[in-house]
């Protein structure tokens, strides 16, 4: 997995509430057997016109936000389906960090597995950031994961919280499965106890 340490990039405000993963990537684009190439389908139903041309009013189609690497989101972003394709599509588009007051659990989890940092802040801070990035001159945010801060101006910092294990994995670009396979003997021990304790589960 790609490491996440620091990021300086354009942040786009997308404050709609309850953005579900069907909206992020509609089901018709899930007929793939690859993780790659989904960026062009990101938000496809609200991003393109019938003829395939970009909708001018959609935020990521606007010149100053086309190259956004940060998305500032509304409440309950990523709700609904567990499809990791939503995160793959965001990642393939170039989004590396999400900032919002509330993310749906499965989506939040999926972000960390793909090197995307989802930051949770109080809604009052989100409102403040949205105001700021709505001006072109101040649409760039700096995120430092090691220090857990977002810089929104020369002298203005916001501190964010993050689970220490998840932070470590992002900073190192660690592969979860390798780490868990290192605990093979613990898992085997658990399994032999399981057979004794719950014999009806032994398949």
């Amino acid at each position: 997995m790609e490491k996440f340490t620091k990021l300086s990039g354009v942040a786009a405000p997308f404050t709609r509430i309850n953005v579900d993963t069907d909206l992020i990537i509609p089901a018709e684009h899930l007929k793939t057997i690859s993780r790659l190439g989904l960026g062009k389908h990101l938000f496809s139903y609200i991003r393109y016109n019938e003829d395939g041309s970009p909708k001018k009013e959609f935020i990521l189609n606007q010149d100053r936000y086309k190259k956004s690497t940060i998305l500032v989101t509304g409440k309950n972003f990523g709700c609904g389906s567990s499809r990791e394709h939503a995160v793959w599509a965001l990642s393939d588009f170039g989004i590396k960090c999400l900032i919002g007051s509330e993310f749906a659990d499965i989506f939040y989890n999926n972000c960390f597995k793909n090197g995307i940092l989802p930051i949770i802040l109080d809604q009052s801070y989100i409102d403040k950031i949205v105001k700021k990035i709505s001006f072109e001159k101040t649409s760039i945010l700096n995120v430092n994961l090691e220090k857990q801060i977002i810089t929104i101006a020369y002298d203005e910092f916001l501190k964010f919280k993050i689970d220490p294990y998840r932070k470590k994995c992002l900073l190192e670009g660690a592969d979860d499965i390798t780490l868990t396979l290192n605990k093979d003997s613990l898992i085997s021990k658990f399994e032999s106890n399981l057979k004794k304790k719950f014999p009806w589960l032994d398949r």
Partner: protein, 467 residues
């Protein structure tokens, strides 16, 4: 419970039983008893295993079935090339890695969350995962069951564990008596309307109370199924005699260890005095049949109600959200729900495609004719077989419904079953998201009997008027 232990919830007990290694580790490992796999969220996981020459640790704790992409007509000849590749890939992957597979022409094939319980694989106290958010369905048996992403599917395949943080405990107590014409679907829609689409975020919701205790397993599954629509990680219901009777004698139910299993299951319900992080009470006596009007499952009102006015909403983000929903749904504030005309009716999905759902809907349509396009998609080949044995297929077909083969179908429109832009559907599925049932399609969620009534009337209608 021994005396020196504090009272525990059902969730706490399952969690503690499945923790691998140290409780203080910063990455706790949870052991997984059953891993269900389907064709859409697994190919990348198997590819990951192949790349690093990894094996599936416990293939015998894994079961795969195609459901999302499968056609519900002419399934011997799959026309969609991409769907075909995905379906073939699942078959190949399960063969290569030694995983049991129910092929499309097997009578046991069906929606993954229908077949787990149907086969007796879903049992109390287990941990169950699947790359699908509606895995919460299995919580109806008192199993901790939740949806995961593809990276986690790969993690479970390789290690039979997941790295997890414990969820918080929430309890929703349902009190009173179920009114006439009100079903499990109305209960869960009512709950989501009350606590919101993020009301359960970070929590496992345990449903309790006399209303739940009196529900059949199928009704309980409908409730737990839509826990994810309230944002919850999982839904749970304490196992009882109704649960045990449902499981007994199913193909994969415990046989020689049945008595041991049942003794263990009886100790699973939450202890008296167990602490919950959140508790809610819902009185059901005055609940009407529920229908959604918007594009989030929380946008729900009584069938006797009206489309709400965004101007009455004080939260600006919520107001904007409502306006967007109404624009998409082409509805005006103040419109009576019963005045909304319907183009199509879909009875199916992991929420409502079991035999009791089909029986109840058939009762409403018997001897009548539909005024809309309408289809029934049974949850599994076995559900279909049973329905045909009871003559339900004939009732539906005589009324003008299409009678299809099993699969997810128009719940998410990955196969040919989808709404056309602008079409309005009365649906027994679980999500009314924009474009969920087809690009530009408009979905109203409701119970099977309410959807059946809408098909007969041609518009949304209080089913109680037809009974």
């Amino acid at each position: 419970m021994s005396q020196n232990q504090s009272p525990k919830t059902l969730f706490d007990k399952i969690w503690n039983n499945h923790l691998v290694g140290n409780k203080d580790d910063d990455n706790q490992l949870l052991y997984i008893d059953l891993h269900l796999v389907h064709e859409v969220t697994s190919p990348q996981a198997f590819e990951g295993l192949r790349l690093l020459k990894r094996k599936v640790r416990q293939p015998q704790k894994t079961l795969a079935v195609p459901d999302h992409n499968v056609p519900t007509l002419n399934r011997d000849n799959i026309e969609d090339e991409l769907s075909k590749i995905q379906l073939e890939m699942l078959e190949k992957n399960t063969k290569d890695f030694g995983i049991e597979f129910f092929p499309i022409n097997d009578v046991r094939q069906g929606i993954v969350h229908i077949i787990g319980p149907e086969q007796g694989l879903t049992q109390p106290g287990m941990t169950i995962v699947c790359g699908d958010s509606h895995t919460s369905t299995h919580g109806a048996f008192g199993a901790l069951a939740f949806g995961i992403g593809t990276s986690e599917v790969e993690h479970v395949l390789a290690t039979q564990t997941l790295i997890q943080n414990p969820a918080k405990n929430m309890r929703i107590n349902l009190e009173g008596n179920m009114p006439f014409g009100v079903t499990a679907k109305d209960l869960i829609l009512g709950i989501i309307g009350k606590i919101g689409a993020a009301g359960g975020t970070g929590h496992v919701i345990e449903y309790s109370g006399a209303v739940i205790q009196n529900l059949s397993m199928e009704g309980r599954m409908t409730i737990c199924n839509m826990s994810i629509e309230a944002g919850a990680r999982a839904g749970l219901i304490a196992p009882d005699e109704i649960t045990f009777n449902y499981i007994k004698n199913r193909p994969r139910a415990p046989k020689k260890n049945w008595d041991k299993a049942i003794n263990f299951w009886k100790d699973l319900p939450s202890d008296k005095g167990a602490k919950y992080d959140k508790e809610k009470i819902l009185k059901v006596d005055k609940l009407d049949p529920q229908v959604t009007w918007g594009t989030s499952p929380q946008d729900v009102v009584s069938i006797k109600g009206k489309v709400p006015d965004p101007n009455t909403e004080s939260d600006i983000n919520r107001k904007n959200g409502m306006e967007k929903s109404l624009e998409y749904m082409d509805l005006k504030p103040g419109t009576k729900l019963e005045d909304i005309k319907i183009d199509q009716v879909f009875i199916g999905s992991c929420t409502n495609s079991r035999i009791e759902d089909l029986r109840a809907a058939a009762k409403i349509v018997k001897g009548k004719s539909v005024k809309t396009k309408a289809m029934v998609v049974p949850g599994s080949g076995l559900v279909k077989q049973q329905a045909e044995k009871e003559g339900l297929d004939k009732i539906f077909k005589d009324a003008g419904f299409e009678w299809r083969d099993s699969g997810c179908s128009m719940c998410l429109a990955m196969n040919a079953d989808k709404l056309k832009p602008g079409e309005r559907c009365a649906s027994t599925s679980n999500r009314n998201f924009e474009g969920r049932q087809g690009k530009g399609g408009r979905s109203h969620l409701m119970s099977p009997i309410m959807a059946a009534a809408a098909a007969v009337a041609g518009h949304l209608i209080d089913v109680r008027e037809l009974i």
